[in-house]
Amino acid sequence: MNRLFDNDWVGPALVCLVAVVGISILQPSFLSPFNILVLLSAIAVNMVIALGQLVIIAIGQMNLALGAFGGLVAICFVAVMELYGVPPVIALLIGLAIGTAAGAASGFVIARTGISAFIITLAGLQIFKGINLGITEAQPFYGVPQSVKDFGNHAIFGPIPWLIVPMIIASVGMWYLFNRLRIGRYILAVGGNRTAAELSGINITATIIWAHAISGLLAAIAGMMLVARLQIGQPTIGDDWLISSFAAPVIGGAVLAGGHVSVAGTFFGVVIIAIITQALVLFAIDPFVVQIVLGALILWAVGINRYREIRVAKLNEAR
């Protein structure tokens, strides 16, 4: 039993279960097909965003520019389709390339200069956001092709949206990366004990660049998913990613110092946030309360993680 609770995802999963049961008793429309569709669409996008931050948390850093990457990719994605008539598939590839390149560039600067990721990604945030607004002059692009719009608001069957597909690919991919691929293990090794990783012959610079490139790639996917969901190329896409991108991984038991993350835990973190947001809407509570709840959730999760850390340390000492 105790062993089960040592898994990062069990706690958040239980919270999800209780929340779903509780809310649907109070408000049966919570489980209506439409509501589930809306919920799953939100979860799909937010999960990919959270994964983009998760890979940076794994290496013990942070990425403030995640939203700026996503926003820039989103408007570039629509812009090339609207202005140059590029087919959506090619536009998608261009978007992925931009996100990955932007991530790799910021990873390169961080790894080579040794300056804190915080300050570099803060500068990156400003640069990419500025380019975004410079291109769009803060006006949305409306020329989103029908196929992309359909992807964003159609269901595969029942209440299951198409948007869930990229989320599943990204989640399984990241789980596989962290558990089975050399680069994923190296990212965790550098985050867990940088000196040990370095002395063992791991190329720290390359590992950091990889992590940031993957983060950029995921931000790009999330940005384009949002274009499909919102049906327009909004320049404000990405502005509000920062808090939730940290909240979900932290709720999922990620260690902020690096070296330990949980994809499953992050998923349930995303679900908790989505359920609470949705519940506030259903109960007609001021949507800004979400901000308060998000902040409180982060503090709560940080507290729990801290408690678990201390407990593990005590157990190890006793042994």
Partner: protein, 502 residues
């Protein structure tokens, strides 16, 4: 046969010559002890061998070929494995992954084949007689097992030379015996092993040859240990001249104790510690690494919770919750970790020396001027002959000895009545060391109570009036110091080992 040869290696750091034409030869199939007191140059030598520092002069050859490693990674690839004092493992990863960390796959996107890793790792674990599942996370292992995993990691790189830096520091005697059995086995397999330790018993137990460093020079270069006895080695480590104390035993002051612990227990693990220091007395606190001496000092200062017993200062029972409260009671602590805990390297000499007196010098509104602070600490710094271009100099630029003087000066300036000094002579030159010893005596003569913590027996015999011996977070007994090195050291060792030594 010669696996690794160090010839005439010299290395200088600003203000100090760390190594002066040092030589050492490690041979395959033998265990070689590298001995020396703190600051003798052992760690510098290891850092040069493994490429962390570059030598100014001299040559290192492995199996006849000159080598010059740029970093520890290259050294490992070249067959020189090191097991450092700090654990260098990713604790959340499995044993197998840690051993094979640099060989998880051909490229970044390769799949990690855990089965193959486990198979390869268990080969090395078997060689180390370590019966654990290679998929166990390292965090579940004991300290001794972690040590063996690190050795396994070094071996898996086909190391022909294995350097172990104080490998037994955090092991129990029986764990150490397991380690020695494995080292003997590796030796018989033809590995050249370099063994750094403070514990002479161990050295005589396992080593074949010995190199002793003293003040950055060879006191002996790769001699067979069979030709030497314990006294010879001690003589080489500390130098004959220093063994005869310059000081006569001092009469014990009659005043009642200024500082007293009665059955003191702490959350750090101390149990029923009792000791007392009178004004004008120098009480030594001796113990091996890990005995809980520095931890005692810090616990008493309020950094660990008191769980039992009593602290009395000036005859009255007190509770100390923080260093600030200790300072108010007249208790100061000079840390052994000068750079991490003693000084603020980024700040000036003046700020470092004045940090303890700011509060008392400031006016009612909390204002104070540099001039006021300089008036207070200037005379102390002058008295201690701190060499600095100006009071404004960043303290990180001073030599180790001068830094140490400043970290003592700040407590003298604060006028403490009990000064706890932890390993005062780590990383400073002989001259400053002698000076500090004189200073400690002067302080005691002036009525300060001194608690001296050191693992340097010579220093202990030379400076302390009485020696309290600590082992495993308890006080084992008290030895009166009559400056007779043989008698005192035998008595101390007897207390630590709980038996009469031969």
């Amino acid at each position: 046969m010669t696996a690794l040869k160090v010839s005439n290696v010299s290395k200088s750091f600003p203000g100090v010559k760390a190594l002066d034409a040092v030589s050492m030869t490690l041979t395959g199939g033998s265990v070689h002890a590298l001995l020396g007191e703190n600051g003798a140059g052992k760690s510098t030598l290891i850092k040069i061998m493994t490429g962390i520092h570059a030598a100014d002069q001299g040559e290192i050859t492995m199996e006849g070929r000159p080598v010059r490693f740029a970093n520890p990674r290259q050294a490992a690839a070249g067959g020189l494995g090191v097991v450092h004092q700090e654990r260098n493992l990713v604790t959340r990863f499995s044993v197998a992954e840690n051993i094979m960390l640099d060989r998880l796959g051909a490229n970044s996107l390769s799949r990690v084949d855990y089965k193959a890793l486990a198979a390869e790792a268990s080969r090395w674990l078997k060689q180390l007689d370590l019966d654990i599942d290679p998929m166990t996370p390292v965090s579940r292992l004991s300290v001794a097992q972690m040590q063996l995993v690190e050795i396994g990691k070094a071996l898996s790189l086909q190391s022909r030379v294995l350097l172990l830096d104080e490998p037994t520091a955090s092991l129990t005697p029986s764990e150490a015996q397991v380690l020695f059995r494995i080292l003997r086995k590796l030796r018989d397999d033809g590995v050249a092993i370099g063994f750094v330790s403070h514990k002479l018993e161990e050295v005589f137990d396992i080593c074949d040859t010995v190199t002793v460093l003293r003040d950055g020079k060879n006191a002996c270069d790769s001699q067979p240990l069979k030709t030497l006895n314990r006294d010879d080695v001690v003589k080489m480590m500390i130098g004959r001249a220093e063994r005869i104390s310059r000081r006569a035993p001092r009469p014990q002051p009659a005043a009642p104790p200024f500082f007293e612990l009665r059955d003191y227990s702490s959350a750090a693990g101390h149990e029923n510690v009792s000791l007392s220091v009178r004004p004008g007395e120098i009480l030594g606190l001796y113990g091996l690494v890990g005995a809980g001496r520095s931890e005692l000092a810090k616990a008493v200062l309020g950094l660990a919770r008191q769980t039992g017993g009593e602290i009395r200062v000036g005859g009255k029972p007190v509770k100390i919750g923080s260093v600030a409260e200790a300072l108010d009671l007249g208790v100061g602590y000079v840390s052994e970790d000068r750079k991490g805990e003693g000084l603020i390297l980024l700040h000036s000499v003046l700020d470092n020396a004045g940090i303890t007196v700011w509060k008392s010098l400031a006016n009612a509104l909390g204002f104070l001027r540099d001039g006021t602070v300089a008036q207070k600490v200037g005379p102390v710094l002058r008295k201690l002959e701190v060499k600095t271009p100006s009071l404004d100099q960043t303290i990180g630029n001073l030599s180790g000895g001068n830094q140490q003087k400043v970290s003592v000066a700040k407590w003298i300036a604060a006028g403490v009545k009990l000064l706890i000094i932890d390993e005062p002579s780590v990383g400073i030159d002989i001259k400053t060391k002698a000076y500090l010893h004189d200073l400690i005596h002067e302080l005691a003569e002036a009525g300060t109570a001194v608690l001296l913590i050191t693992s340097d027996l010579t220093e202990m015999v030379d400076v302390a009036d009485r020696v309290a011996v600590m082992d495993d977070y308890r006080i084992e007994g008290l030895v009166e110091n009559d400056r007779n090195y043989e008698r005192v050291s035998t008595a101390i060792m007897a207390l630590i080992h709980g038996r009469e030594a031969a």
